[in-house]
């Protein structure tokens, strides 16, 4: 069937963007709008994970990886008719690097400590220079929506498939087709759709109800319960796109200054203890019971969804109670009490009991915590589950350090290992188990620091892969973060929506929005 032009796509977003400035996108909704409206020089194809040319026709790195040169497409126009030139790329980099703006997108460019500069080399060629070699530098530009230096609309003038046409706070955001979008199909300018209406709707049940009524045409992130319900119905297409890069994980507080008992700190610092807990967890049950089979056991910082960077030699820590008991015995832990209600005690006789905090209102995490409680009871450990409101939880893990273990998720938005440096570098504030270390607390953390820094300046991709494989191996051996599951991307879309190619990468259903079309009867 030939594609049809026109129509309005409607879907829900969870929250209202605080800003439409593309450099300030810091939430899922803001990033979705940036993706739909912003033109980028290069784009990671969400289907094959390869880098593809967009506003740039070609690019090459120079000066040993310290600069990258983009050859831009000539004759393109912003949505308001302003011509697109190399000067706009220079302006965009200047805005990103503006310290007063505090751009989260700009942070990815600031790693080297010096200034990042962009210099035009003619009307359609631009060089972006970094203070030191940057590995995988081209991929950074996937997030950089080019802004116009000369347009009176400033960041509202866009090069993407859609432009912002209306906004009713708390209710909806309206996007209209960009009349100057550069891509064409069958001799006509894309996109197929006339517009997109993003309804602001926090309640997932209401979103589902509206989807059933046909008031919205897609849902990008279904819960496993919703997926099962919709799969049993006939009005829509649901699809499990496979494991995402999002991990659910458990970690122990290893911060030496944390206000918890010294004997507990000693447990958590022990590799054997952490591995014993990991081997006592039935990850297959977590996937089957909590996610109805729509999840994969967690392995490490990256899931198999990251085709290039995932270390394929690693497997999930196996459920093995005997191994778990051996590891505990090696550290002097022993069972005490009557058979059937035995308690694990450490060398000094302390009963092994600790709490896990997680955020209230997340049924999947609360269920996982309850399952961990039963799993750990099998090796004599007592786990107390504490659900906290999100601000209290964040305060404990990032400021007061008043917690023993935490069950939380991590969302990888970047396929490149550089995106993980803020978690794995020991000096980082988000090195969750022991943040802000002046010097690496352990030899293996020092080794991870070294490998990560080395890979971030190594230009040979295969060499980088080998270095990051080693990081993943150390993470698996030392288990500072116990990866539990990687949930699958579960999506639903109306049967009338065509050209849908669900991806495990965000935005799952909208990555090819310029080619989506609606079949009208």
């Amino acid at each position: 069937m030939a594609a049809q032009w026109g129509g309005e796509l409607r879907f829900s977003i969870r929250d209202e963007p605080r800003s439409f400035h593309p450099a300030m996108a810091d939430t899922d909704a803001a990033e979705t709008i940036r993706y739909l409206t912003g033109g980028v020089v290069v784009r990671v194809n969400r289907s094959n994970q390869q880098l593809e040319p967009e506003l740039a026709t070609s690019w090459k790195t120079e000066s040993g990886g310290k600069s990258i040169v983009f050859q831009l497409r000539p004759g393109l126009l912003f949505s308001d008719g302003t011509p697109f030139t190399a000067d706009d790329v220079v302006y965009t980099i200047q805005v990103l690097m503006d310290p007063a703006l505090h751009s989260a997108t700009g942070d990815a460019f600031r790693g080297g400590g010096g200034a990042v500069k962009a210099v035009p080399r003619g009307k359609y060629q631009v060089t972006v220079m970094f203070p030191e070699p940057v590995a995988g530098v081209a991929r950074l530009f996937d997030q950089v929506a080019i802004m116009s230096r000369n347009s009176t609309l400033k960041e509202r003038a866009v090069l993407g498939a859609f432009r912002i046409a209306g906004h009713k706070p708390g209710s909806f955001i309206l996007l209209a087709r960009n009349p100057n979008y550069w891509k064409t199909e069958h001799g006509r300018r894309l996109p197929y759709l006339d517009g997109i209406r993003l309804e602001i709707q926090q309640n997932r049940e209401l979103e589902l109800l509206r989807f059933r009524r046909g008031e919205v045409q897609l849902i990008s992130a279904l819960s496993p319960d919703q997926f099962q319900q919709l799969a049993a119905e006939d009005g829509a297409t649901v699809k499990d796109a496979g494991p995402t890069l999002e991990s659910e994980m458990l970690w122990f507080n290893m911060n030496p200054s944390a206000p918890i008992e010294a004997y507990r700190k000693k447990w958590f610092a022990s590799r054997n203890f952490r591995l014993a807990v990991s081997h006592a967890i039935r990850r297959d049950d977590l996937c089957r019971v909590v996610y109805h089979g729509h999840a994969q056991p967690g392995i490490g910082p990256f899931s198999a969804a990251n085709r290039f960077w995932f270390n394929h030699s690693l497997k999930p820590h196996a459920f093995d109670l005997e191994q778990s008991r051996r590891l505990l015995a090696a550290d002097g832990f022993h069972l005490a009490g009557e058979s059937g209600s035995q308690t694990l005690r450490d060398r000094d006789g302390h009963a092994v009991e600790f709490s896990v905090i997680t955020n209230a209102g997340n049924p999947a995490r609360e269920r996982m915590a309850a399952m961990l409680q039963q799993d750990l009871a099998a090796i004599g450990m007592r786990l107390n589950i504490v659900t906290l409101d999100f601000p209290s939880l964040i305060e404990r893990i990032s400021k007061s350090s008043q917690y023993e273990s935490c069950l939380l998720g991590h969302v990888n938005v970047d396929l490149d290992p550089k995106g993980l440096m803020n978690v794995w570098l020991s000096s980082s504030a988000t090195h969750q188990w022991n943040p802000n270390q002046a010097e690496p607390a352990t030899p293996w953390e020092a080794e991870i620091d070294r490998l990560l820094k080395l890979q971030s300046t190594t230009l040979d991709e295969n060499r980088r892969k080998a270095l990051f494989d080693r990081v993943q191996q150390i993470a698996w051996d030392e288990a500072p973060l116990l990866y539990l599951v990687n949930r699958n991307a579960l999506v639903a879309f109306s049967r009338s929506l065509r050209n849908v190619e669900p991806s495990v990468l965000r935005p799952n259903l909208l990555w090819n929005a310029d080619r989506l079309w609606i079949e009208t009867k």
């Binding site: 019971v289 309850a370 039963q374 409101d389 209290s392």
Partner: protein, 265 residues
């Protein structure tokens, strides 16, 4: 009506007390091969998302709610009775102070107050300690409303003829309060107790719905009601509504007791 409500409550309480003998499974046991199972002979009300027997959890959860909510209500009613009597007998300044304190307490957003207190509780508190803390807080925060009602009654009684006679007869203020006023306040305090019990039952259910109620693996009516968030799933499995029906019945029975009590006072 009052007798019927009382009989109904007694029957429910008896069934819940017999939970260890009636429940087919331990409330925390996860039958992981049978999550979200339909109602059957093995699982009379099906299982929850973790494969735990819903009927057993309802019996034990109901037992906890019906034990601790009245206990908390008793605490707040006794607190209110003592405060009102003391304030009433100590004179106008004390009355005004008690009134202001009650107003301040009533104007507190109690849900946030509970969240704040829960956030500072020791993390390693045993689940039962958290149950006690939750209902204890409800009991301690629930004194203000009953205090205002009872204080008004104290003032009315202190201005009545029988107190005047007692004072004229040489009774001390302490004796007037304890021997003459207090017995007359007891029916009112009991009515306040009956009003407070369902309020606390619903408060626990609200906390449970937010995921901030009684911690796992201990069941509670609030925790069981969380399953109804997935309304379309619940409609397809109507036995999931039974815990809600139990809460509705218990709260309704308490309200019937109160309204019948109002007429009998």
């Amino acid at each position: 009506m009052r007798r019927s409500a009382a009989l109904l409550l007694m029957a429910i309480a008896l069934a819940l007390l017999l939970a260890p003998y009636v429940a087919p499974h331990p409330y925390a046991t996860q039958f992981r091969e049978a999550p979200n199972a339909r109602a059957s002979r093995q699982f009379p009300l099906g299982t929850d998302a973790l494969g735990r027997d819903r009927f057993s959890r309802m019996l034990y959860g109901g037992r906890i709610s019906l034990l601790f909510a009245p206990a908390a209500a008793l605490v707040s009613s006794l607190l209110a009775l003592c405060l009102a009597l003391l304030a009433g007998c100590l004179g106008r300044r004390a009355e005004r102070l008690a009134g202001i304190a009650a107003d301040v307490c009533l104007s507190l957003p109690w849900l946030f107050a509970l969240l704040a207190v829960r956030a500072v509780l020791p993390l390693n508190a045993a689940p039962w300690a958290t149950v006690l803390a939750t209902f204890g807080l409800l009991g301690l925060l629930g004194w203000a409303g009953p205090t205002r009602v009872i204080l008004a009654a104290v003032k009315r009684h202190l201005a009545s003829d029988f107190v005047l006679f007692a004072r004229a007869g040489g009774c001390s203020g302490w004796r007037v309060a304890v021997v003459h006023v207090l017995p007359n306040l007891l029916p009112l305090a009991f009515a306040q107790f009956l009003v407070t019990v369902p309020a606390f039952l619903l408060a626990e259910a609200n906390l449970g719905l937010l995921g901030l109620g009684i911690p796992e693996p201990i069941p509670s009516l609030g925790g069981l009601l969380r399953e109804l968030e997935n309304l379309s799933g619940a409609v397809a499995h109507p036995w999931m509504f039974v815990p809600a029906l139990l809460l509705f019945t218990v709260v309704g029975a308490f309200h019937l007791l109160v309204s019948a009590d109002k007429y009998s006072i």
